[in-house]
């Protein structure tokens, strides 16, 4: 069976700092990483390949430097990585991103299951997976925490919802998004790292995947960011003073008013 994992290169958010003078994000020195939620998708892709045989491919739409993230996937057991990159894709929102990925996957043609992370660390939308499934016209299930059964043309999974979990079945090919409960991603193997160094990462442009550039990038994106600002904290905090006992006594008084 053939598996495709969609990934994104993101800034490691925990390292993001705001310059207090200019009130802007400090990007310099912030390392780029594979979106942490995507590492579970990559691991599941590799595990499924180990279980069912076949091939697992990683793809990413992004600027040329996203090649670095794709190279890393090879060290984690991915067989082939493809970068989808074109100036015409810059500024794509989730609709346009879904469109471009769907065109790339259509070019790959021979696939059984597409796996995405639940959301990205920077955008946090989680909309590309479901959007992609509709553009490909294949089944979709979000928040998968366990693959129960997979065979030619058939998939049964467990997925997490607020109140518990649901068991779902579907035909293949399909798209799923996975949560971190699904597995523990492996570390790069020595052999994998060697392979990653020399791996060829093909770059597919809009023309290569026959993407209509009117539907990609900013032109194809229905949404626009019109304003960016930093949340202001205007909150007044009262720090309680004195000995621990005194502080607890004061807190008790405050709590009595509320509860």
């Amino acid at each position: 069976m053939n598996f495709v994992v969609c990934i994104k290169q993101v800034p490691g958010t925990t390292d993001i700092k705001i310059d207090p003078e200019t009130n802007t994000l400090v990007r310099e020195g912030v390392p780029s990483v594979i979106n942490p939620f995507d590492t579970y998708a990559l691991e599941e892709g590799v595990r499924l390949k180990e279980r069912c045989g076949g091939k697992v491919t990683a793809i990413s739409m992004g600027p040329p430097q996203a090649e670095e993230a794709l190279r890393e996937t090879i060290s984690l057991g991915i067989d082939e990585a493809i970068l989808i990159s074109d100036r015409a894709f810059a500024g794509s929102d989730t609709w346009a991103t879904s469109y471009v990925l769907s065109k790339a996957i259509t070019k790959i043609a021979d696939y059984d299951l597409i796996i995405c992370g639940r959301q990205t660390l920077d955008g946090d939308t989680g909309q590309v997976g479901p959007g992609l499934s509709e553009m490909l016209g294949v089944p979709f299930v979000a928040y998968v925490s366990k693959i129960e059964e997979i065979k030619e043309g058939y998939l049964k999974v467990q997925r997490m919802v607020e109140e518990g979990y649901e068991t779902m079945e579907m035909s293949l090919p399909a798209v799923i998004t996975v949560v971190k409960e699904i597995n523990v991603p492996r570390l790069p193997s020595l052999r994998g790292s060697m392979k990653a160094k020399t791996a060829q990462i093909p770059v597919w442009t809009a023309e290569d995947i026959s993407a209509d550039t009117d539907k990609a990038g900013l032109t194809g994106s229905p949404t626009r960011v019109v304003k960016i600002f930093f949340p202001q904290r205007t909150h007044k905090s009262e720090m309680l003073q004195g000995s621990t006992e005194l502080q607890v006594t004061q807190l008790m008084e405050k709590l009595e008013e509320i509860i």
């Binding site: 958010t13 925990t14 993001i16 200019t22 009130n23 802007t24 994000l25 600027p63 929102d93 609709w95 879904s98 660390l121 920077d122 955008g123 939308t125 989680g126 909309q127 997976g129 479901p130 959007g131 499934s133 294949v138 089944p139 979709f140 299930v141 979000a142 928040y143 997490m160 607020e162 109140e163 518990g164 649901e166 779902m168 079945e169 579907m170 900013l218 032109t219 229905p222 949404t223 626009r224 960011v225 019109v226 304003k227 960016i228 600002f229 949340p231 904290r233 909150h235 905090s237 720090m239 309680l240 621990t244 502080q247 607890v248 807190l251 008790m252 405050k254 709590l255 509320i258 509860i259």
Partner: protein, 395 residues
């Protein structure tokens, strides 16, 4: 749609550099250059005194004939979810600003209180009642909602950013080819353009972005539960409940729900809790959640957690509050040993009263706390539990 620098006008003064929220402008050889990643927010255009930065917007034709604000009223096991009422209360404000009607769309089977949606602000309720819609069969939901949208053409469509909303609403937007903004925390109408202003946290809550959908309709957004307050029902309100037939046979169903297992052991009830006591990394080890549990019991509270204890397996995921967990808005939130990473704050900072107990006086949690205690939580928390038990006659 693009941004470019007019090299003849640019003086290389650099006044655009610091205003870019993403630090993507750099002056090289006396000319400003814009790096990859620009989302055309326009901050630099306003800052340039020489009109040297140009954003070229391709005029898109606005889809015509779309009117009214719609709210997707989500249910589970035939009971409407709280977020449905929260959205109606916010949707009412938007509809009033647009002088248009507010409609609720409810898909399900024998849903209790669907008529009550009128009392909560709806002018019309589209009720699609069919046994096939009783469970969360998302293919049916997608098909039914796309049909209704195509037929009635709402200008705005809001849904809860629940597991189901986040899963099937993007499919609806994908089919219709319109914009969808995830996880909004603020909604408003631009007084001039009448566009829906959709504000959401991004970069893990570090940055807020306001997003619009210029030309495609409906303008779609998902909203996290508990971000907006539900309003009191007005039983005198008049409205219409319109029953819509569901034609199962015309919808392609590719997935099948076999079983829904309610996780009773993990029943956490964070969503509806009036008081929440949460523990963080400061607890040091899993056994120490016991003192959080005892305080929660004394307060009649639900128990929450920040992300690190969940990641380390000290407590299960349904307890997680924050960006990738639950958003909560209780009357009282007690944070014990939680430093207050932005991701955690994003999930609890709208709580009415926040009490923070932490040994580090510089912990960011104190910036959002109503009352802060700098101290050893292993001393403070049990003492507080004790006092509460005594005052409530629990010992």
């Amino acid at each position: 749609m693009s941004i470019w620098i007019d090299a003849e006008k640019c003086t290389g003064c650099g006044s655009c550099e610091p205003v870019c929220p993403f630090g993507l402008i750099e002056v090289v050889d006396d000319i400003a250059q814009i790096k990859e990643g620009c989302n055309l927010c326009g901050a630099c255009v306003d800052a340039c005194d020489y009109n040297a930065i140009i954003i070229e917007e391709v005029e898109q034709e606005v889809s015509e004939g779309f009117q009214g604000v719609w709210v997707f009223a989500e249910q589970r096991s035939s009971k409407l979810k709280s977020v449905s009422y929260e959205l109606l209360s916010e949707g009412r404000k938007l509809a009033d600003k647009l002088v248009s009607e507010l409609c609720a769309v409810c898909l399900g089977h024998n849903v209790e209180g669907a008529e009550g949606l009128v009392a909560h602000g709806a002018d019309k309720v589209y009720l699609v009642d069919d046994p096939a819609l009783a469970d969360h069969q998302e293919d049916y939901y997608t098909g039914a909602l796309v049909d209704l949208v195509r037929k009635h053409k709402p200008e705005i469509l809001l849904a809860g950013a629940t597991a189901m909303g986040r899963s099937f609403i993007p499919r609806v937007a994908s089919i219709i080819y319109t914009g969808l903004t995830a996880d909004c925390t603020g909604l408003d109408i631009d007084p001039e353009s009448k566009l829906l202003l959709q504000t959401r946290p991004t970069f893990g809550g570090n940055v807020m972005a306001t997003i619009t959908c210029q030309a495609k309709r409906p303008q779609m957004a998902t909203v996290r539960p508990h971000v907006f307050k539900r309003s009191e029902p007005d039983n005198g309100r008049k409205g219409e409940v319109i029953k819509v037939d569901f034609h199962k046979e015309v919808v392609t169903s590719r997935t099948r729900l076999l079983e829904f297992v309610e996780d009773l052991s993990e029943r956490v009830k964070l969503d509806d809790a009036e008081i929440i006591v949460s523990g963080g990394r400061g607890l040091g080890k899993p056994e120490n959640f016991q003192i959080i549990k005892e305080l929660a019991e004394a307060l009649g509270a639900a128990m929450g957690s920040s992300r690190p204890p969940v990641d380390d397996g000290w407590i299960s995921y349904p307890h997680q509050v924050g960006q990738t967990g639950k958003t909560v808005c209780p009357k009282l939130y007690v944070a014990c040993g939680i430093s207050g990473a932005v991701q955690h704050l994003a999930g609890m900072q709208t709580s009415e009263v926040i009490v923070a107990i932490n040994e580090d006086p510089n912990a960011p949690i104190f910036e959002v706390a109503t009352y802060g205690i700098v101290g050893d939580l292993f001393e403070v928390v049990p003492m507080l539990t004790d006092r509460l038990k005594k005052s409530r006659g629990l010992t």
